[in-house]
């Protein structure tokens, strides 16, 4: 689970950094308008918030990648062998069910 979290967070971090640099180079955050008003007052704040917004977007993309990457076996069946299933699982003793 930890590894999965890192594989989601880390590539998103890298891409978000690059995206933030490119975006803020092309557009001056002070000139960004939303419904006729300036969106933000401080550039450094804009860069920081922008970075985290990009990171969030990339994280959601990475999460979906991980989500869709699950194989048919993982979706159809419990991936744990019967004896390793959590206590109280009704299929814990059921040898025939495993995979």
């Amino acid at each position: 689970m930890l590894q999965r979290t890192i594989t989601i967070l880390w590539p998103s971090f890298l891409v978000a950094g690059v995206a933030d640099v490119i975006f803020t180079t092309l557009f001056d955050p002070l000139e960004l308008m939303y419904r006729g008003e300036a969106l933000i007052e401080h550039r450094v704040a804009a860069y920081t918030i922008g970075f985290f917004v990009f990171w969030l977007i990339c994280i959601s993309s990475s999460m979906l990648t991980c989500y869709f990457q699950r194989s048919a076996d993982e979706i159809n069946r419990c991936p744990l062998p019967a004896p390793k299933r959590p206590e109280g699982c009704p299929k814990r003793e059921d040898e025939s069910d495993c995979c």
């Binding site: 590894q3 001056d28 450094v44 704040a45 860069y47 991936p79 995979c99």
Partner: protein, 472 residues
């Protein structure tokens, strides 16, 4: 990503395979020798540069400052604007080619000696060695239960790590916000929220990466580690165990004639594994985990000296040498090969273009913004008028006065409210301007026109920008 599923033949077969092994904490043994000295030198050099550079002054401003708040990058005498993004791209391409070139020649030199991950891990391990003792003492401390002694040692280590990490974070932010101001703000506990955040964020990343993640960053997180082998060929220098000389390995007494016993030079002492920061055995051949730090070379050379065998059982050499295609003395001759020549030529061409473009850079930039409300209007005396806003950026370090002309239509007149257009050093000015033309001279709905902004005091400084003039 954590599992690599296979269809098991029976219920006893493992269903889930861990893609990543459970990590054992690696406590590498410290090593001394030629390459360790090189690394110490590189750590000192890179950090002197990193910590020192922001304090350097140039022409009254910080010599290297990527001033994010004002969107100006100062690099010694040069000032870059967001419009100069192409130079950053050029610089990145040059750096990438440089990396490709020396990776092709000598493998992962970057990883072994200059990468911040290696450098800070090295610094953090010096602290560890100093406060917690050698690798054996550290392993013992890892296993020992928490007591006053362990608390004191660990506490002291983290305190020193913390200070180094904070200083690193502060310096990092000092590249983006003037460091003198930043230092003053820190002294007065008056630091802005965003600066505080980035100092802590970068400090935390340093502390985590150099203190805990260490080789895992290289093994699992570094993109370069994954593709560096693409630049390798059979003539690339890598840290290599000479199998033909070393095998069959085995322990032996120093006095015996081991060759008569059928043994190779490797005494299987395992020191090369103990010193490895990524915990691999170099004797298994080239592996992507190997960061080319050459700690095993230093370690093995010491053992070879003790045994009275020639050095270099593990050494920087090429695949072709190990295969016996040419001796070690031939390595230098094989540096010149199509791959390295292509990289060099590309670097020379792009580097040349980069320098030429910088040298001939005109310190003026003009952008035209059309008045969006009214495309064109008719004046009282029946002429057609278009309104624009000229954004003039004086990229020079001195004041300039500019003259304004427009071309593209017969009898085109430029009307400005300002009597004189002048911009202070590094100043951006907005000049409202209108173009007036006789409708008789206008052919078509929209006509291409060009503004010519010319410095009054330097004929080389001029910028031509084209825009459209709209008829009624």
């Amino acid at each position: 990503m954590t599992e690599n599923k296979q269809t098991p033949a029976s219920s006893e077969a493992p269903i889930e395979q861990q893609l990543y092994a459970i990590r054992q904490r690696i406590q590498p043994r410290a090593v001394h020798g030629v390459f360790a000295n090189w690394r110490i030198a590189m750590v000192l050099l890179t950090q002197l540069l990193y910590y020192g550079l922001p304090w350097l002054k140039w022409d009254g401003h910080q010599a290297v400052l990527f001033d994010l708040a004002t969107r100006k990058f100062y690099v010694f005498g040069l000032v870059f604007w967001p419009q100069d993004f192409v130079y950053l791209t050029g610089l990145l391409i040059l750096s990438a080619l440089g990396l490709f070139l020396f990776t092709a020649i000598a493998g992962r030199l970057w990883c072994g000696y200059a990468c911040p991950q290696t450098v800070y891990t090295e610094i953090f391990m010096w602290v560890e060695e100093w406060l917690e003792g050698d690798h054996l003492a550290r392993k013992k401390l890892d296993k020992s239960p928490w007591n006053a002694e362990k608390l004191r040692k660990r506490g002291a280590k983290h305190l020193v790590w913390f200070v180094i990490a904070l200083w690193t974070g502060f310096t990092f932010v000092g590249y983006f916000t003037p460091i003198q101001t930043l230092a003053a703000e820190v002294m007065q506990f008056n630091l802005g929220p965003w600066e505080t955040f980035w100092i802590l964020f970068y400090g935390f990343a340093t502390w985590g990466n150099a203190g805990f993640m260490r080789e895992q960053v290289c093994k699992y997180m570094c993109p370069y580690a994954r593709f560096q082998s693409v630049m390798f060929d059979s003539d690339t220098l890598t840290v290599t165990y000479d199998t033909s000389r070393g095998e069959p390995r085995g322990p032996r007494s120093k006095k015996i004639d081991y060759k008569a016993q059928g043994l190779g030079d490797c005494i299987d002492c395992g020191v090369c594994v103990q010193v490895c920061p990524t915990g691999i055995d170099i004797r298994n051949g080239l592996q992507y985990e190997c960061i080319g730090c050459a700690a095993c070379i230093d370690a093995c050379d010491q053992i070879m000296d003790k045994m009275g065998y020639p050095r270099g059982l593990i050494r920087y050499t090429t695949e072709n040498v190990v295969k016996g295609k040419y001796p070690d003395s031939g390595i230098l001759r094989h540096v010149l090969r199509p791959r390295t020549i292509i990289y060099t030529v590309l670097m020379a061409v792009i580097g040349g273009a980069f320098v030429w473009s910088l040298a001939t850079r005109v310190p003026l930039r003009v952008d035209v913004v059309r008045d969006r409300a009214a495309l064109s209007k008719e004046t009282d005396d029946g002429l057609i008028e278009n309104v624009y806003r000229l954004q003039i950026i004086n990229k020079d370090a001195r004041v300039h006065r500019y003259t304004l002309q427009a071309r593209g239509i017969d009898g085109l007149r430029v009307v400005t409210a300002a009597r004189e257009i002048s911009a202070a050093p590094l100043e951006t000015i907005d000049v409202p301007v209108s173009l007036v033309a006789d409708p008789v001279a206008l052919k078509g709905r929209s006509i291409a026109v060009t503004f010519i902004v010319q410095s009054a005091d330097d004929p080389r400084i001029r910028d031509d920008v084209s825009t459209k003039f709209f008829n009624r």
